[in-house]
């Protein structure tokens, strides 16, 4: 059977067997404890607190927001008292401003967004995007791009495809898989609401073929003629935006900074689609998410539905702790996830997995010389020449890096995964991209200053 896919990519060991058959368990601690909410849980402007120290808050109450368009408000996931507004360590390892709430364990609910905004009625289609902004929905696969921005494409762009990214190509993670098996209707209805916004669009739910149960259930439950369930070849990074658009629609997104909307596509994460349904039907904001807590160092891997702001330590404890000291603790999957410094950091909207790997799986191999084997070129889904870019960055030749398309790197890690010399290729491009972008910002600022001086 020839399923749609893309050119390039790798087949890392899947590791999904640890959690794919574990039903989602709800974890809601009922004693008083601290919940921490970083003010920036999304791409775009950070939020400012709208509560003060000492205020009593309810579960689902907005605690931070901003006027900026590219941003998303933050909600308390528990009822309790605002204990402090102070810097705390976040999952990325940086210390950022956070709101700290001491919970009372009661999860007393704030009035729903529907009650607040439309006195309990269902919103009109024209109000969907406003609702989605008000509920703080972001891409919950990890990138955390605000969903209302995605759903407001630039003028002149006709959206032809709305694709639910249920590929879940990252090894080990199975939270999207479980969500499809356990609440397929919400996902289908959520996509239905997105399609109402774009009357000309075709809906696609793209699933990798290693989730036969999810494919079966979704196909069974789907009654809409506008929605197609589309199985895909199992290959990493099938779920990367550009790869998915290519295999679903056959279109290539032009080079950066082009967006999916430029080829008439919008891609939504599985949990995000589920959340759209809950928000529009019940007025629920983003307060919880499903996380795969897994890895060979975890005693009892599980899929947990947890309130945001909960400490990662609680998640690990709920899974019976570590059976062995992990070498690395990773937020997300092993290919693109962030290595964490500590377990005492809060879960945020984009945390799709907590992965504890022992040194057997997550060793850092010593780099050796590139032997020009070409494995990185074969595996690069963007069709770049990783080894060439790596050499350019290491000799600080950023012009060559940019000229050979370095900015198009999606940091999927396929090249570094396949490199026999264990070269830290992805790290190299991260550095290269950061440097080029910083130079560009500097140049833009200088040009602006010059222009202003002229005026």
């Amino acid at each position: 059977m020839n399923l749609p896919t893309f050119l390039g990519g790798v087949h890392p060991p899947e590791g999904k067997a640890l959690t794919e058959n574990k039903a989602i368990e709800i974890l809601r601690p009922e004693d008083s404890r601290e919940f921490i909410y970083p003010l920036s849980q999304h791409i775009g402007a950070p939020c400012s607190p709208v509560v003060n120290k000492g205020d009593r808050v309810l579960a689902g109450q907005k605690i931070a927001d901003t006027e900026a368009f590219v941003s998303a408000p933050i909600f308390s996931s528990v009822s309790g008292v605002v204990k402090d507004i102070a810097p705390r360590m976040t999952i990325a390892g940086s210390v950022d401003p956070c709101i700290i709430i001491q919970s009372d364990g009661k999860y007393e609910k704030a009035p729903s967004l529907l009650a607040q905004m439309y006195s309990g009625h269902k919103p009109k289609v024209a109000d969907y995007v406003k609702m989605i902004r008000a509920a703080g929905i972001v891409g919950m696969g990890g990138a955390c791009f605000p969903t209302h921005v995605k759903l407001s494409p630039p003028a002149g762009r006709v959206i032809k495809w709305v694709i639910v990214n249920a590929a879940e190509c990252e090894p080990y993670l199975s939270c999207d898989n479980r969500l499809m098996i356990e609440s397929p209707d919400e996902i289908i209805r959520g996509l239905g609401y997105a399609l109402e916004i774009f009357p000309e669009a075709q809906g696609v739910i793209a699933i990798e073929n290693n989730k036969p149960e999810a494919i079966r259930i979704m196909t069974e439950r789907n009654k809409s003629s506008r929605i197609k369930i589309m199985p895909h070849t199992v290959k990493y990074p099938q779920g990367a935006e550009k790869m998915l658009i290519w295999s679903v629609t056959g279109q290539e997104i032009p080079e950066v900074p082009a967006l999916p909307a430029d080829v008439g596509c919008i891609i939504l994460n599985t949990r995000t689609t589920w959340q759209i349904c809950r928000t529009i039907e019940k007025g629920e904001p983003v307060t919880e998410r499903v996380i795969s807590v897994t890895g060979d160092a975890v005693n009892e891997p599980k899929n947990l539905q947890v309130p945001l702001g909960i400490s990662v330590r609680e998640l690990v404890n709920a899974c019976g702790g570590f059976k062995e000291e992990p070498l690395k603790l990773i937020a997300g999957g092993p290919m693109m996830g962030l290595a964490m410094r500590s377990v005492d950091v809060p879960v945020v909207k984009g945390t799709s997995g907590i992965l504890a790997l022992t040194s057997r799986l997550a060793y850092i191999a010593e780099e050796s010389a590139c032997i020009r084997c070409g494995k990185c070129i074969e595996s690069c889904p963007m069709h770049l020449e990783p080894t060439l870019l790596d050499h350019a960055v290491r000799r600080r030749d950023y012009a060559t890096f940019e000229a050979h398309g370095g900015l198009n790197c999606i940091e999927c890690g396929s090249c570094a995964y396949s490199c026999p010399a264990s070269r830290h290729l992805t790290q190299s491009y991260k550095n290269g991209k950061a440097h080029v972008m910083a130079e560009k910002r500097k140049a833009a600022a200088a040009a602006k200053a010059k222009q202003e001086a002229k005026n």
């Binding site: 890392p12 060991p13 090894p171 550009k242 290519w246 290539e252 997104i253 032009p254 080079e255 330590r313 690990v316 570590f322 000291e325 992990p326 070498l327 690395k328 603790l329 990773i330 092993p334 290919m335 693109m336 290595a339 964490m340 410094r341 500590s342 377990v343 005492d344 992965l355 790997l357 799986l361 997550a362 060793y363 850092i364 191999a365 050796s368 010389a369 590139c370 032997i371 020009r372 084997c373 070409g374 494995k375 070129i377 889904p381 963007m382 069709h383 770049l384 020449e385 000229a403 050979h404 398309g405 198009n408 570094a416 995964y417 396949s418 026999p420 010399a421 264990s422 992805t426 790290q427």
Partner: protein, 320 residues
């Protein structure tokens, strides 16, 4: 629960493909052909193989000691060089010549250019070429079972009838270099490397087909069949094991087709009209030098880039 973890950039997992096990698989693929070589050509061959490997490994060790460089002996690449060089020598070669060739391969061809991954031509082939020019008689004296004789290719070149059965060519019972005679085992070794995804089918298949077809078209050796062309001389070992050397072959699929076709064309030309009966070593060496040029002009189109962008980019590069 520990509070300290290792922090590093993603990805956090790695395939178990390493330089060392790639080289290990190459050695494994080469071994059967060497064993047959020793069986048909005599124990002297074993001494040549041992001399080359030991000299290569010692040269690399000594160079890295002298230059205070990190030792790369454990990647086994020096062993592969030694093995390949020995396979390309006649069994009667004086051992001191084999040692000189090994030192030349490792020190001058490999280490002078920066060691593994940086050499511009294949070390074993460059050493063989150097030896062929320096000691032409010793390098072209063939004996089998105590009787000296011409290789099939030299006979074809001279226009005389080749009187070795295809089966003997296939099995390796003919005059020739230590490792190049047994077609069957070289093909099996090559298929093993393709199966393990160490090499791709592109270079060997395109190279062998181009040589076989062109040499027959050029009517090399009167009545030679394409099959004779492919089964004799160093073509198989060259196509499967030398032309596919990562460092000195193009990295993209398109580049590999061009490179392999170039190797095949040159081999057919040299075999037909050149001064040597055999053209594999020189063809590969010449194409090795062309690799940077091929790589520059076969850069893949970045996903989403306009189709013409590649030419513009090459142009921009050139202008700089």
């Amino acid at each position: 629960m520990s509070t300290k973890f290792v922090v590093s950039a993603s990805p956090h997992v790695h395939s178990d493909f390493t330089t060392r096990n790639i080289m290990g698989m190459v050695i494994l693929a080469l071994l059967p052909a060497g064993v047959t070589g020793v069986y048909f050509l005599g124990l002297r061959s074993l001494a040549v193989i041992a001399a080359c490997i030991i000299a290569c490994v010692l040269s690399e060790w000594a160079w890295q000691k002298l230059t205070h460089a990190k030792s790369t002996l454990s990647d086994l690449s020096a062993v592969v060089t030694g093995l390949l060089l020995a396979y390309n020598l006649p069994p009667t070669i004086p051992l001191w010549m084999a040692v000189c060739g090994s030192i030349f391969a490792i020190i001058i061809v490999k280490q002078f250019y920066g060691g593994i991954g940086c050499n511009i031509v294949n070390p074993a082939l460059a050493a063989r070429a150097m030896m062929l020019i320096s000691w032409p008689t010793a390098m072209t004296t063939w004996t089998i079972n105590g009787i000296s004789g011409a290789t099939p290719l030299a006979a074809m070149k001279a226009g005389s009838q080749v009187n070795i059965s295809l089966w003997n060519m296939f099995a390796g019972n003919m005059a020739g270099c230590i490792g190049e005679t047994s077609s069957l085992l070289l093909i099996l070794g090559g298929l093993y490397l393709i199966w393990e995804e160490v090499i791709s089918w592109r270079i060997p298949v395109v190279y062998i087909l181009t040589t076989a077809i062109l040499a027959s078209l050029f009517n090399h050796g009167g009545s030679a069949l394409p099959l004779h062309e492919s089964l004799t001389g160093g073509l198989l070992i060259g196509a499967f094991f030398m032309a596919t050397d990562y460092t000195t072959s193009p990295m993209t699929a398109k580049g590999q087709y061009i490179y392999a076709f170039g190797c095949g064309l040159l081999t057919a030309l040299i075999r037909t009209w050149g001064g040597y009966p055999e053209g594999v070593s020189f063809s590969i060496l010449i194409m090795n030098v062309a690799v940077p040029l091929i790589d520059m002009h076969t850069e893949p189109r970045v996903l989403g880039a306009p189709k013409s962008n590649f030419f513009k980019r090459v142009h921009k590069e050139g202008a700089k």
